[in-house]
């Protein structure tokens, strides 16, 4: 049984988390014609914006209600209204995604009431634009919670409630935030190869995939359409990826009766098998030859790759579902999880992490717990810990600002698992230490007490 260790430090050292409103904004960025709006001071938006740009290398639509001193004391409803109206006039979005911040949540206003008032008062001006609210104070949660809250809010305020005639080929997919653009594209291809029609919410593959549009657009271009969100209730089945997406899936089920199937991770052969079997069962179609081929490739990758994984100690710091995805992947390849650090203790998935303990903490904790590991696995900020410890770093999650193309990296199903195996094996091969007589000398550590002795074969 894994022990979950709470954070006991007062000073977080090198944060692992990105903020909850950032996660919510990321979800809104997966909607077509959307404009996320942070209800807070201009810095809240500016910091998140810069981080998004550093990761995606794209212009990111993200605005602020620009709370100043006066609004902070007297209340921010006027700023919220002005911001929404300004955005509507200037950018004509199909959806404005309001994410609250620590500043406005500490004041504690009735945001839902404010927005309802604004929509009523400004019905005409706001026609054709959905305004969705996600309550996302920075002082709780992280990307995962923010993303899930935004998707829940989107379904809650846009999807048409009530049991409807189901379209037998239509599948709703609610992916967790940790799926990349490439993952979403791959999922869509996979589902379509069974003759099914997927509606993916949110769909960052249409909006954050790095293309060159033929005109300047100030909102997102591409992503799930508001119309498709409205009609989610006509799907025959919902597929959910990541434990943190259970809440929106349950809401969809409650509103429309659409049942959901939960995949806590999509990495690994057996998980991919389950996913493919489900598609085959829903569609009644046999598994296409191309998919069978991918599976065979993964089998071969497992055979070729496992030499590099066996006995390796892996230290991972990631949000809960991604931690689960990676930890199960590494353990499934014969490695052990030497350190597992995560952002918050709110997720049930933590109980299933295949490690002795999971520390709620930061990259400072990873640096302490990961000493002696063979590989650090976290986002780009882990570069300092990797440097200090002299251990290679595998970059996953958000933000990845010192490598290009992280959004095009595949991490799910047969092909993504195959790619992950190759990536890790290649990191190990790059960092292999040449044998030296000193390191292998059977007498080299004899004078040391037993517990300090370590096997020369333990490292690479």
């Amino acid at each position: 049984m894994v022990r979950i260790l709470p954070q006991t430090k007062a000073a977080a050292v090198n944060p692992l988390k990105s903020s909850q409103p950032l996660g919510a904004a990321l979800a809104f960025l997966g909607i077509d014609g959307a404009m996320p709006l942070f209800h807070g001071s201009q810095g809240c938006t500016s910091f998140a914006l810069v981080l998004f740009v550093r990761h995606f290398k794209e212009a990111i639509p993200l605005q602020t209600t620009a709370m100043d001193e006066v609004a902070t004391i007297l209340g921010g409803a006027d700023h919220l209204e002005e911001a929404i109206l300004n955005l509507k006039t200037r950018t004509k979005p199909k959806l404005i995604g309001v994410c609250t911040t620590a500043l406005t949540e500490t004041r504690g206003e009735d945001f839902a009431g404010d927005i309802a008032d604004i929509r009523q008062k400004r019905t005409e001006e706001l026609a054709g634009t959905e305004v969705v609210l996600a309550n996302t104070p920075d002082f709780e949660g992280a990307i995962e919670e923010g993303w899930a809250k935004a998707v829940t809010a989107i379904i809650g305020s846009i999807t048409r409630p009530g049991e409807q005639a189901r379209r037998s080929k239509k599948i709703a997919i609610l992916p967790g935030w940790n799926l990349t653009v490439a993952d979403i594209e791959h999922l869509r291809d996979m589902v379509e190869s069974f003759g099914l029609e997927p509606v993916i919410l949110p769909d960052v593959s249409g909006s954050l995939d790095g293309t060159v549009p033929d005109r300047w657009v100030t909102t997102t271009y591409g992503g799930t359409s508001v119309e498709d969100i409205r009609e989610l209730g006509t799907a025959v089945q919902c597929i959910v990826i990541g434990e943190h997406m259970r809440r929106p899936a349950e809401l969809l089920h409650r509103l429309t009766g659409v049942p959901y199937a939960m995949f806590q991770s999509l990495a690994g052969l057996k998980t991919a098998d389950r996913f493919v079997s489900l598609l085959s069962a829903i569609s009644g179609a046999p598994v296409p030859a191309g998919v069978r081929r991918r599976r065979a490739q993964l089998q071969d990758a497992l055979l070729d790759g496992h030499f590099h994984f066996g006995g390796k100690k892996i230290a991972i710091a990631a949000e809960p579902d991604q931690l689960y995805q990676l930890a199960t992947f590494f353990v499934g390849m014969g490695s052990e999880i030497a350190a597992a650090v995560t952002t918050t203790n709110m997720s049930k998935i933590l109980e299933k992490i295949p490690a002795e303990s999971v520390q709620i903490g930061d990259l400072g904790d990873l640096e302490v717990l990961g000493a002696g590991a063979d590989l650090l696995v976290t986002h780009s900020h882990g570069r300092q810990a990797a440097q200090h410890l002299g251990i290679p770093l595998m970059r996953v999650g958000f933000p990845i600002f010192d490598r290009l193309g992280s959004q095009h990296k595949l991490t799910v199903l047969y092909q993504g698992t195959r790619d992950l195996i190759f990536e890790v094996a290649n990191i190990f091969q790059t960092n292999r230490h040449a044998p030296t007589p000193e390191a292998l000398d059977p007498f080299r550590h004899r004078e040391m007490p037993d517990e300090l002795r370590s096997s020369p074969f333990a490292r690479h």
């Binding site: 050292v13 944060p15 409103p21 602020t64 002082f139 089945q237 959901y260 991770s265 998980t271 489900l278």
Partner: protein
Amino acid sequence: MSWLNAKIQDLFNEPACEKNRGKDAKARKQGCSKPLTPGAAAGGCAFDGAKIVLQPITDVAHLVHAPLACEGNSWDNRGTASSGPTLWRTSFTTDLTELDVMMGQGERKLFKAIREVKEAYAPPAIFVYSTCVTALIGDDIEAVCKRAAEKFGLPVVPINAPGFVGSKNLGNKLAGEALLDHVIGTAEPDDAGPYDINILGEFNLSGEFWLVKPLFDRLGIRVRASIPGDARYLDVASAHRARATMIVCSTALINLARKMEQRWDIPFFEGSFYGITDTSEALRQISRLLVKKGADPEILGRTEALIAEEEAIAWKKLATYRPGLEGKRVLLNTGGVKSWSVVHALMEIGIEIVGTSVKKSTPEDKERIKKILKDENHMFETMAPRDLYAMLSQRKADIMLSGGRTQFIALKAMTPWLDINQERHQPYAGYDGMVELVRQIDLAIRNPIWRQVREPPPWECQLATGDEPPSTKSETVTVQSFKKFAGTTADDFGEC
């Protein structure tokens, strides 16, 4: 908060600011930060500005008293360089939780955090930043810092610039005030001399100050404190013993320069290391100020000799780029021409300036721009992204020089772009820096990708066939059977 208000009012009343002198008393009181439009605002907050100015002090532990976003979303994001300590790149934040906020545990947590940082890292000083939430819930960071400094025996400096008080620029200035109130003058150097200077507002981006510092070394001038780029706490604490100050990024720390002159009689001038003539002028001015403060006048001659030598080398290097760059059109989108010297050098090798933003320019600046630009229409206050995109799409410029904010407008319009703002990765200061800037412009414009990306795909020339892909929609299978299946799978697949 009233203390903070008084401080801000004092900052708005900056006599050394050229723009401010032109205003009447009422306009001055309103301050220089324009009210922001909700839904149409850009740029960072005061906390952002304060951190930008102070964080490059390399051996200080910077502790941000806030919920996660303020530090968690922004740490380790600046390209300033350190020649030694790396502590400034380690991020410290109290990461306040809901419980901390509700139960009023902020101050206690901050005190504990200061202790942890002190014990684990033993820095020469800790800077503590207040933010929106901690200011709103009334945490008294001044008192906590004072108590911690006494208890732990090291300087703990409160930086009072919560985000909601205003813009990044205001935060820059509040940071300068904090240095003045708590740091500068708190340590006495044992080696003060007649050739000691301070550089204010130099951030050592991509290490570019290291292109300049050897010039001072050659002249026997010692940089006592470069604030903040590559600074050490003790250098800053003893900056009051310098004989002259050069202020580089004038809007950020002008208040600090003026008050240091008032308090310690250190004369200052505004200068720039961007461009050849400006670099020379900066060296000249520093030498002059030092002589005025008692240095041996022979330094003036040595300075001129160095300038002549370095300029000749730089112009010779620049001339090699003329064949490739002559007649190329540059669009400057920087909110104002920050250095005339750069424009001068670009024009010297035959580059044309086809447009520039004059948002932050003075009337004199505008006159000069009119003379440079062939077409007056290309002088703009601000340009909407859409218009900028249109201009670049029509190939009205061969390259845009700007900050990261407009990067993607240029790139999506398939126009070469060069970052000349603080996020850039190239050092552009000094004589060599100017040559590097021109080399980067040359590399950007001549890159072979431009011809490839602008070319339409070959099949675009053929007529679109208009064929629809065959429909995959099929409603033949009964909904019922799915429902049955779906109902069971929710459980079957629940524990993947």
